[in-house]
């Protein structure tokens, strides 16, 4: 990570990375979505609605991983003063908020035919909604602090405090057994049959690459904007 601390060195890596992330992400996501819609059998209980799994699970993972990235960027900024940490945190937030929103909306659409309700104030659903609002708060705070010319330290502290919500989301299905089912996919295995499960890794990796591409593009935009601002200030002084 320290090798990429220099913005010029980061840009040399980011330009080809953007193209590759977009290409690989697009191919895997389209392949996984097409396979999930046409090649897998319906579930014996959920029927065809199980197909929503192929977009809901990656969006839930990315919504949470996005805040993990913000927390890591916050630590890098506060402890090591990494020059790209604040830029990285600000770049991750819109992508994380988008995937948290996709998770909430697709979950709600899945809930109507499966549970008979669009929404329930269940532990998992509520903590995911809190995560979405945390993202909105982070984006607003980062933008306000940047406009005032701050270093982004308050935003970084907010990013670290917000990370408390991540274990709450993860363990919510164990702590409050209400409507959302327990963990179906863990590190040791899955309770989902392989005939249904196999397109999921494709959409997981595909959407993760697209998330990475969006983040890298936002970082490039932020670095270019910073360059313009610095040059304008210099020209103003001359």
């Amino acid at each position: 990570m320290h090798a990429l601390a220099n913005p010029a060195r980061f840009l040399r890596f980011a330009k080809p990375a953007t193209t590759w992330l977009l290409l690989v992400g697009f191919m895997l996501a389209v392949g996984g979505v097409a396979a999930g819609l046409t090649l897998t059998p319906p579930d014996y209980l959920q029927g065809e609605t199980v197909r929503i799994l192929y977009i809901h699970v990656p969006s839930a993972w990315l919504g949470m991983a996005g805040w993990g990235g913000i927390a890591a960027a916050s630590v890098s900024q506060l402890v090591w003063r990494h020059p790209l940490a604040a830029v990285g945190g600000r770049a991750v937030a819109p992508a994380g908020a988008t995937f948290a929103a996709i998770c909430l909306i697709t979950g709600s659409i899945w809930g109507r035919p499966t549970w008979g309700t669009w929404w329930e104030w269940d532990g998992r659903l509520t903590s995911m909604l809190v995560l979405f609002f945390l993202y909105l708060g982070y984006i607003a705070l980062a933008s306000a602090e940047r406009e005032r010319g701050g270093e982004g330290r308050i935003t970084a502290i907010y990013g670290l405090v917000g990370a408390i919500n991540l274990p709450i989301i993860h363990y919510s299905v164990l702590w409050w057994r209400t409507l959302h089912q327990g963990e179906s996919i863990g590190l040791t295995g899955s309770t989902i049959d392989n005939s249904i499960l196999w397109p999921l890794p494709l959409t997981m990796i595909g959407f993760t690459c697209l998330f990475g591409a969006a983040t890298v593009m936002r970082m490039r935009a932020e670095l270019a904007e910073a360059k313009v601002e610095a040059r304008m200030r210099r020209m103003g002084r001359e």
């Binding site: 979505v33 065809e48 819109p94 899945w110 593009m217 936002r218 935009a221 904007e225 360059k227």
Partner: protein, 42 residues
């Protein structure tokens, strides 16, 4: 209850929001990098 309208609308939401995010990120990046290049040339 026919499940397909639910499946299709969930996919539609996911595809539109992901495409929107990528297009916005791409356009903002190109605009910012073009402005930086213009200023450098001047």
């Amino acid at each position: 209850m026919n499940p397909w309208p639910f499946v299709i609308s969930a996919y539609w939401v996911a595809i539109c929001l992901t495409a929107g995010l990528l297009v916005w990120a791409f356009v903002s990046m190109r605009r910012a990098e073009a402005a930086a290049d213009d200023l450098k040339r001047k």
